[in-house]
Amino acid sequence: MFNKQKRPFWQLSSVFAVIIVLVLALSWSNRAENAAQMDASMAVMMSNEILDSATIPDLFTIGTIESPEALSGNGEHAGHHDQSGTLYAIHLITTGLLLFTLPVILAGALFLAIVWPNSSKRRKTN
């Protein structure tokens, strides 16, 4: 029944199964587990709340839907977050890196999307 070639996969699976059982056992008494009564994921809940009333132009318009967090001053960049702390510095550096690398990735991906089909055609003809 078992393919001997695939034995490492089943060994790895059993290691992960043991880890999952241990983590579940550790979190068994965790009070926060009551939260698991909520069935929907964050993305599904957010989609149900916001996307039902949103239009396609809303996806491309900044600030049309007023954020309660931003209005109350508890948004990502304000409120309870310490704006002079290490966490905020990390946030600024990582956001900067993201903004710098995103155009490089998109340009590189476009280049590969153009070049890859031609290179695979050459390989087939050779």
């Binding site: 070639q5 695939k6 034995r7 490492p8 996969f9 790895l12 983590v23 579940l24 550790l26 979190s27 965790n30 926060a32 587990e33 939260a35 698991a36 909520m38 069935d39 929907a40 994921s41 964050m42 993305a43 599904v44 809940m45 957010m46 989609s47 916001i50 996307l51 949103a54 809303d58 996806l59 491309f60 900044i62 600030g63 049309t64 839907i65 954020s67 967090e69 931003a70 948004g75 990502e76 960049h77 966490l87 946030h91 990582t94 956001t95 890196l97 993201l98 903004l99 690398t101 995103l102 490089v104 990735i105 590189g108 991906a109 280049f111 590969l112 089909p117 290179s119 695979s120 390989r123």
Partner: protein, 154 residues
Amino acid sequence: MKFDFILHWLWALVFSILALSGIAMAGAKYGWVMQYDIATADIVHRLAAVVYVLLTVIVILYEIIRILRRDKTKKPWLVFGPSGYGLFTFITTLIFIVTGAVIWLFMDSNHAATAFTLWIHEKLTYLAVASVIWHIYMKSHALKWPKNKERKAR
């Protein structure tokens, strides 16, 4: 040790961290993955995402340099490729990065875009994790410790 081999396993490590911290944040159902410490999961996810983006830049530049140098040597460990699982990883990575960037940058200013991209980001995570399990199953011979080869060499 080959560069593509190192990149492959670095990629696997970062993807695992992203998957675990991401699933922990996905909903209350999966919070047990990180003992319901959502704040730590958020920081870990953001830091791992930056490493993931940097690794993507490195892999893309490496592939472009190989093409420009007309290097036709096979790189079986390279994460991106023009066909098969390499192409699947390339497309899913681009979607992960673009949707992740929208969530990161517009979380406070555009809730419609955030909700839409978060939905894609989450559903794609389940697809990518399932595909990784399939990938490990298909390539499980690579998990074997090379005992036979060492013995033969001796």
